[in-house]
């Protein structure tokens, strides 16, 4: 009896939703999903929305736009992927590796544009960075690590040991750590790692590097970016220079960052979406990396962390924070 009435209720709900959904099927539709809500990832989503608007695709003109966040849960990410495929949108935008994998696993026909994935090839989203020939393309936020090491040397020329705080559970960060381990020795430096599996561990990880490193570098690790203030506390009190990978962190207390502006990354992603809406096949579009890097410096932070920045560096910055 109980099961029966529950099933009847479910069927009724499904019918109502189905009717409403089909009414929208004719308009252009874009479905966006992200693994978590996070300032950088949210900026990507907003950038996509903006790019669509600039090209004339708005809700007012009939664009169906939907956004779902997986709340950090891979099972929910999987159900979101299923839902999207069932809704048959014109393009699915998947932000961050776990969400992108769930979507790519769920459909081989609906165009998928990934964004904010550092290594889409290792994640098996695309076979290579060239045009894939499948239904997937996107924008990677991989940074040229050579340029990052260059920046570290410009900020702290005598640095020999570079410390890095990161979440060992985040694919993007592990990729960076592996590459840095290989690249740093070529510049006469070495890497000292400290892991922070949760945001609350970031401060402790930073403290464990005190006395062992000449500078602390961080990438766009979700945990680190969320808890950057705890890193700044350690940097200021122990006088260890901080170099970040996203420009926002410079405002929060890093000395410098040559980073991707995630809003611009979103716009770049949105432009790919527009091309697909206009009829291009995603398999014919090569994956892109972030085209715009900006240098931000914070002279106040430099002073607090015991570093004097060269005039040349400060002059070359897009933004200088006191």
């Amino acid at each position: 009896m109980n099961l029966h009435s529950v099933l009847r209720a479910l069927a009724g709900a499904a019918a109502v939703v189905g009717a409403l959904a089909s009414a929208q099927a004719q308009a252009q539709s874009v479905a966006v999903t992200s693994i978590v809500e996070h300032p950088a990832l949210d900026a990507v989503k907003d950038g996509v929305h903006e790019a669509l608007a600039s090209a004339g695709y708005t809700e007012a003109k009939g664009l169906k736009w939907q956004f779902q966040t997986a709340q950090g849960n891979t099972a929910i990410a999987a159900q979101i992927a299923r839902k999207f495929v069932g809704d048959k949108p014109d393009v699915i935008v998947a932000i961050a590796t776990p969400s992108a994998q769930a979507v790519v696993a769920a459909t081989k026909s609906i165009p998928v544009v990934y964004s904010a994935v550092t290594d889409p090839v290792a994640a098996q989203l695309v076979p290579g960075m060239e045009a894939s020939g499948t239904n997937v393309t996107g924008v990677s936020d991989a940074l040229s690590l050579e340029k990052q090491i260059d920046l570290i040397k410009k900020v702290v020329p005598e640095a020999k040991k570079v410390g890095m705080v990161y979440n060992p559970g985040e694919a993007n960060s592990v990729v960076v750590v592996k590459r840095l381990r290989e690249l740093l020795p070529q510049s006469g430096m070495s890497l000292v790692e400290a892991t922070a599996a949760r945001t609350v561990d970031v401060g402790a990880a930073a403290r464990s590097l005190v006395g062992k490193v000449d500078v602390i570098y961080t990438n766009t690790d979700n945990n680190v970016v969320s808890a950057y203030e705890s890193l700044v506390k350690v940097g200021n009190s122990a006088k260890i220079p901080l170099v970040a990978s996203d420009t926002d962190s410079v405002k929060r207390g890093a000395i410098a960052a040559l980073g991707v502006n995630y809003h611009d990354l979103g716009v770049q992603t949105g432009k790919l979406v527009v091309r697909i809406l206009k009829g291009e096949k995603p398999g014919a579009i090569a994956s892109e990396t972030s085209s715009k890097l900006e240098l931000y410096v914070n002279t106040g932070a430099a002073a607090r962390q015991g570093v004097t920045l060269s005039d040349a560096l400060v002059k070359s910055a897009a933004q200088v924070i006191k």
């Binding site: 009896m1 891979t74 990410a77 159900q79 839902k83 590796t97 696993a105 994640a123 592990v174």
Partner: protein, 295 residues
């Protein structure tokens, strides 16, 4: 809700049905609150993913994953019966340890399985859509698992295990080695959970270090929803009930995902799910009150 969403809910629901069966064994049969599952679910996924990635046949990889997770469960049991560590604490210790172990197994936080063969691609029958074939394959598997469990708990060993959880003192007085029963039960329980993890990784695109977070909550929700919809002390009905509970839970989430037409937003997903589950739990109570009024 689209047909696709429904099949998806069934597919993921059946996978978590295996988890729910495992949780039923530890929580209800053995009376052992076991949080190891938050670690053994991803252990199953990680083991299967990394083995398939290195070329192993997906069926063998799945088998290995199941055994690995079973072993993890046995270690939790061992911490409890040999080292006399409180059950809940032993399981938490194991769960924490498994985080690092899983990272080691994968050698990365994420192992994708999008282009590799899986048990599903191997078993895929021609003529049926893959999103229909997968839940059907899983249905067959879950039915077999349920029947095997029902048979097992009707055997002498199974009965001995049930008495261990119900009245360990009496069980020992009947000559039952309760320590061994706990080890065996924890192994079977976590093996089922690990199997679920292995199948999840193969059907959802890969294993990720975060895939285990909240597994115990999902398992318990399934058990409770199941017991509420189909209340019974008989174990044979309980095994059916928890699988139904797991599937229903995923249906509720799928429903909640489609609730944007009521003006709810993405962030409200958890709240909507909680409300739907509460309604499910209240239905039996409401029916009871109605019956009393009529009488």
């Amino acid at each position: 809700m689209s047909i696709y969403s429904m099949w998806g809910a069934l597919e993921i629901g059946l996978i978590f049905g295996l988890v729910a069966l495992g949780v039923l064994i530890s929580f209800r049969v053995l009376n052992f609150p076991d949080l190891t599952v938050d670690g053994s679910f991803p252990l199953g996924g990680a083991t299967a993913a990394i083995l398939i990635h290195h070329g192993m046949d997906p069926f063998m990889a799945t088998g290995a994953a199941t055994l690995a997770a079973g072993f993890a469960g046995m270690v939790t049991g061992w911490l409890n019966v040999r080292l006399k560590i409180m059950d809940l604490l032993a399981s938490i210790l194991m769960m924490i340890a498994l985080y690092s172990i899983n990272l080691r197994v994968m050698d990365a936080p994420n192992v994708p399985l999008i282009t590799d063969p899986t048990v599903f691609t191997v078993l895929q029958p021609p003529g049926i859509e893959d999103y229909v074939a997968r839940p059907l394959i899983l249905l067959a598997l879950v039915v077999v698992a349920k029947l095997l469990l029902d048979w097992f708990f009707a055997t002498q060993v199974g009965l001995a295990m049930r008495s261990t959880g119900s009245n360990p003192r009496m069980a020992r007085a009947q000559g039952i080695r309760t320590d061994n029963m706990v080890l065996l039960g924890m192994a079977i329980s976590n093996a089922l959970v690990g199997l679920g993890g292995a199948l999840f990784a193969q059907s959802q695109g890969g294993a990720d270090i975060s895939m285990g977070i909240g597994t115990i909550v999902i398992g318990l929700a399934a058990v409770i929803i199941g017991e509420s919809i189909l209340p019974s002390r008989r174990l044979m009905l309980a095994t059916l009930a928890v699988v139904i509970g797991a599937v229903l839970y995923r249906f509720f989430i799928a429903l909640a995902l489609n609730a944007d037409f009521v003006g709810l937003k993405a962030q409200d997903l958890n709240l909507v799910t909680a409300v739907l589950v509460t309604v499910a739990l209240v239905i039996p109570l409401a029916k009871q009150r109605l019956r009393k009024k009529r009488a």
